[in-house]
Subunit: 301 residues, 2 copies
């Protein structure tokens, strides 16, 4: 390590001073904790014990020891999901973060997501074919009462591992991935290596840039659509006069804001036809709900 | 074929009456010609003889016979590119289209690009990692004095082949692809089959939808950026106040409008730093050109 600030530490410069940090015990989060401490912070450590893995108790112990070494407060939460249900585990994790933050009167949680994670997320979103654009993760997301920070989205895993090695850290290899995050692991372990072979080793960097461009555009487009999307009813004439992409995104965000689950592109397009077609004046949505046009407005019932 | 209008023909409804159509002799363009004639049009046929392939003379002959059968005017252009240079061939093709259109006082050219082509183009753009967003092809593009129409972007190759079979058409198998369009063929013949195996047969549809969403958003964003991007100089204070994505896209479109070639994401970001950083006030661009900030404006020299 030379005297210049390492990129892993430099990337933390704009974080707020009082923080929670999620530490699984894997190399990313162990390196994140190290870099937070080395840049003068005393974050509260959050660890989730997923329970279903044989080594999870040992990992929790290791993270506790790490927190103790640095003199940091630690909260460990044991998830009750016995099945390998990633959606439930995720919900449980964030519920724990929110509860911990509330108790400690904090709101900022730092996560170790990095550039490789960003590329995987972007590919997952692209291949999933939902009604939204693919855009990767945000460096800052509000979620419930929390602000989630991802300061490492521009750093590659290998830079983080190099940092962890240079700092002589020890970490657990995360063996749960293969079991719990099937689709993401297909992307990581099969698609990305295949792409690198097929279209060159620079491919992940190209995808990262595509995600970064899309992410910023997504943010801007959401801002532009918010005034209409946040209304209770959509005004037909006003939305009909907007560009196609604005119609689609406004309908998508409006459906989401009104609590509609699993919005497919086809749902957005069905609602969009209410802007122009005389018939039908009603389209079905998931969960026995429907969108209806009446008196120049579209509403959900 | 039932009595309802086939999707291949229905998709042509909004084309202008007087047209040029590019016919290579492959299934897509032969089916396109058929569907144009069946919907009552008399397009002028354009055929490019790429010359370097052994079967190209036979193909030209076949396309001539097809035009004759329908009583259509045909123009054949023999490209002089002896090397398998796809960029030169493409430029030669469009130069021929433009010349033919001018001579005949027409401006609308119909192309047979379909949904599979769209997915390939989208993946190519994503994996290429340029400064632009991936967005696929437009259903209508202005290019020089031409308007290029792609009415079949929502139809899959297999629907077109089924149409061609039902109409008992004959066509040439395009053997040039493997040689002349290396990267696109890697996508078509290796990446897409791999993706279907890995993430499901619906993957091309998901990618098509992602491209369609991105395409419409791209169009809208370009409109929003045009007022600044079309200026001779970029106004620093005004652009600095804009969202990140607007800064990036405005700079990209401005560089393109000012004739800068091969704009990478890094070039856009360099110019963007001129908005905020005091030093340097000048950044290098490709082709020995540079962007400079002076008196609140950014200009190219």
């Amino acid at each position: 390590m030379n005297a210049r600030v390492h990129p892993c530490e430099a990337a933390l410069a704009s974080l707020p001073p009082r923080l929670l940090v999620a530490v699984s015990g894997g190399v990313d989060s162990v390196a994140l904790l190290e870099s937070l401490v080395r840049t003068g912070r005393q974050p509260v450590v959050l660890h989730v014990d997923h329970g279903w893995r044989p080594e999870s108790a040992a990992e929790a112990k290791q993270v506790r020891a790490l927190a103790k070494k640095h003199g940091l407060k630690i909260l460990v939460h044991k998830l009750r999901t016995t099945k390998r249900n990633e959606a439930a585990a995720r919900a449980g994790r964030y519920a724990f973060f929110a509860e911990a933050a509330k108790k400690l009167r904090l709101r900022d949680v730092v996560l170790a997501h990095h550039a490789d994670d960003q590329v995987e997320t972007f590919l997952l979103q692209l291949l999933r074919g939902s009604g939204s654009s693919a855009r990767g993760m945000e460096p800052e997301t509000k979620r419930g009462g929390l602000v989630l920070h991802r300061p490492w989205l521009a750093l590659w895993k290998k830079e983080i591992v190099a940092y962890a090695r240079a700092r002589k850290l020890s970490w657990s290899e995360d063996s749960s991935n293969a079991d719990t995050r099937h689709r993401r692991n297909l992307i990581r372990k099969r698609l990305l290596p295949y792409l690198k072979k097929l279209t060159g080793t620079e491919t992940p960097r190209h995808l990262w840039r595509a995600a970064e461009i899309a992410r910023a555009e997504n943010e801007w487009l959401d801002e532009l659509c918010a005034p209409l999307a946040n209304r209770r009813e959509l005004p037909v004439a006003e939305l009909r006069a907007a560009p196609l992409a604005q119609q689609r995104r406004t309908i998508l965000r409006w459906l989401q804001a009104r609590g509609t689950a699993d919005i497919a592109f086809a749902d957005v397009e069905s609602v969009r036809r209410l802007l122009t077609d005389r018939e039908p004046a009603k389209v079905n949505l998931s969960g026995n709900r429907f969108a209806r046009r009446r008196a120049g407005l579209i509403f959900i019932a």
